[in-house]
């Protein structure tokens, strides 16, 4: 099994975005009093994430960002990493444990980690990343003024939803109805699904926003899919809905659109292989983005100019107009971390993306410090990637036929017991069915 060795290769959006979080962290940690304290003991940063192993891309990005700030792990800062393996009910316990351990700051990945942490403490500063819609998730009062002891980065899930829908429609013109299935406790995805429903008419689509709580509900919802339907994956990993939708999309050719979170969550590394290295993409730098360059001062004015060029309203495709930056350009502390969305003409983007649908860059954030238009194209590349997943089914062998002798097999039963076909035969006929566990057995 080939694994992705580079922590960033799964998900390029995160490291760039996380650098801002780390800078925020630096800001939080920089008062003189804290400096005095720092001499005596390293900062203790608590990390809570929903991944399946300790080192997920967000954590790798955090570490890289800290290093770029000159904070060495062990000497200046220690990380206390807790992870919940996608289980929602474990997050409150883990959050309480982190608070109790007296960390100086908590870094929470996704809404499912950030909300329990917010409930657990009103005093310890919290920085979140990969939250689909922090306002809808009740994490912050507003983007420009988050308030309380919490700040972080929005993945702009709600804001990008119209564009995602548009891309789904452009890529699969036959799609008439789109299912936005999400976990009832995943507030960001809920907000995104409702946004999708609100803008559906513009794209002549019908959007069914459906909340589920159990795997059975999810499967029974998916069973009602019919020809001409598409799927909009939720942002959160609760119930592994994105994984189930991905499996379904690959097996049954349902068009489906995903968030990059899926690629970077460490949940299903195989998906990473759907992102070929981007070569021959016009105007792209060939080297990987250096996370330290992301928020480099000095080029801010130039960047603003390029942003403006990229944001020309006349370039926006119709539903894309919904995506004009809604955050004020200056103002409260939230402005520092609020990513801005690039609005761009679809026609120039699609051609670019056919050649290079792997974006190493960040969706909608300005952190890359690159050319605005280029960033926009790659934004589309990143978004389109999900749509392309639906094309990926190939090479299906024919099943064995009636009258053939069944090939023998040795398989593993729960408890690591080996079972042979020969053991099952002899007593009577054998009924064998094959299944994927997420879709239920019978």
């Amino acid at each position: 099994m080939r694994r992705c060795r580079n922590a960033f290769c799964g998900l390029a959006i995160e490291p760039a975005a996380i650098v801002i979080a780390v800078f925020t962290l630096g800001v939080l940690a920089s008062p003189p009093a804290a400096d005095a304290q720092r001499a005596s003991r390293p900062y203790r940063v608590g990390v809570l994430h929903t991944g399946f192993f300790e080192e997920i891309p967000s954590v790798a990005g955090l570490k890289a960002g800290l290093k770029a700030l000159g904070l060495e792990e062990g000497r200046d800062v220690t990380l206390d990493i807790r992870f919940t393996r996608g289980k929602l009910d474990e997050a409150p316990t883990a959050a309480a444990a982190l608070v109790k351990s007296g960390v100086d700051l908590i870094f929470a990945q996704t809404e499912q980690s950030a909300r329990p942490v917010k409930d657990a403490t009103q005093t310890i500063p919290i920085v979140f990343v990969e939250v689909g819609d922090p306002v809808a998730a009740n994490l912050v009062a507003s983007i420009p003024r988050p308030g309380g002891n919490i700040t972080g980065i929005s993945s702009l899930v709600t804001e990008l939803t119209p564009k995602r829908l548009e891309i789904l429609k452009t890529t699969f013109p036959g799609v008439r109805r789109v299912w936005a299935v999400y976990h009832a406790d995943d507030l960001s995805s809920g907000a995104a699904a409702h946004k999708a429903r609100d803008v559906a008419a513009v794209l002549k689509l019908e959007v069914v926003a459906q909340a589920v709580r159990t795997n059975e509900e999810l499967v029974s919802q998916l069973k009602t899919l019919r020809s001409g339907d598409g799927l909009l994956s939720p942002h959160g990993l609760a119930l592994n809905i994105p994984g189930v939708i991905l499996d379904l999309a690959l097996m049954s050719r349902w068009p489906a659109l995903f968030y990059n979170t899926l690629l970077g969550s460490g949940r299903r590394p195989r998906v990473v292989r759907l992102r070929p290295a981007c070569r021959g993409c016009p105007g792209r730098p060939t080297r990987r983005q250096d996370p330290a360059r992301g928020a480099a001062p000095g080029s801010a004015g130039r960047r603003r100019q390029q942003d403006r060029a990229c944001h020309q309203p006349k370039d926006c495709a119709e539903p894309g107009d919904n995506l004009s930056p809604r955050h004020p350009r200056s103002g409260g502390p939230g402005d520092r971390v609020a990513p801005r969305l690039a609005c761009f003409p679809l026609r120039c983007g699609l051609d670019t993306c056919r050649g290079c649908f792997a974006s190493q860059w960040s969706i909608g954030t300005r952190t890359q410090g690159g050319n605005g238009m280029r960033c926009a194209r790659q934004t589309l590349c990143g978004v389109l990637l999900g749509a392309l997943v639906g094309f990926a089914v190939a090479g299906q062998a024919n099943a064995i036929e009636v009258g053939q002798k069944a090939p023998d097999f040795t398989l593993t039963a729960p408890g690591n017991r080996q079972v042979k076909l020969a053991d099952l035969l002899g007593k009577g006929p054998v009924v064998i069915y094959t299944f994927v566990d997420a879709f239920g057995a019978a």
């Binding site: 097996m251 195989r270 036929e401 002798k405 398989l411 039963a413 064998i432 069915y433 299944f435």
Partner: protein
């Protein structure tokens, strides 16, 4: 399930998911019959019921399919579903089983 026992048939579910995952799955859904893991992907391709993907060689999952073998190991019934969500009705499988006359 008791109907299958009455027909003296052995029911086996095979999935490409790892054993531990299936173990959880069996307990959670209180499944009585035998569930087997083909994590090594040996049985599924031999029976031609594996979904593969050229772009992503790691993507190899079981299709939803039903086989009935007689006591000598000869295939008597094959049904491969187009969607992994399409379950075959128990009655249909039973009917096919009875049709064997074994």
């Amino acid at each position: 399930m008791s109907q299958f026992e009455a027909a003296n048939a052995h029911v086996v579910g095979v999935s490409a998911d790892p054993v531990a995952k299936l173990d959880d799955f069996t307990k959670k859904n209180t499944i009585k019959h035998q569930i087997l893991s083909d994590f090594g992907r040996k049985m599924l391709p031999a029976y031609g019921v594996m979904v593969t993907d050229q772009k992503s060689p790691m993507y190899r999952l079981a299709k939803r399919a039903y086989f009935i073998l007689d006591r000598h190991g000869i295939v008597r019934f094959v049904r491969v579903q187009a969607s992994p969500l399409d379950l075959l009705k128990t009655e249909e499988v039973l009917k096919a089983l009875k049709g064997l006359g074994t």
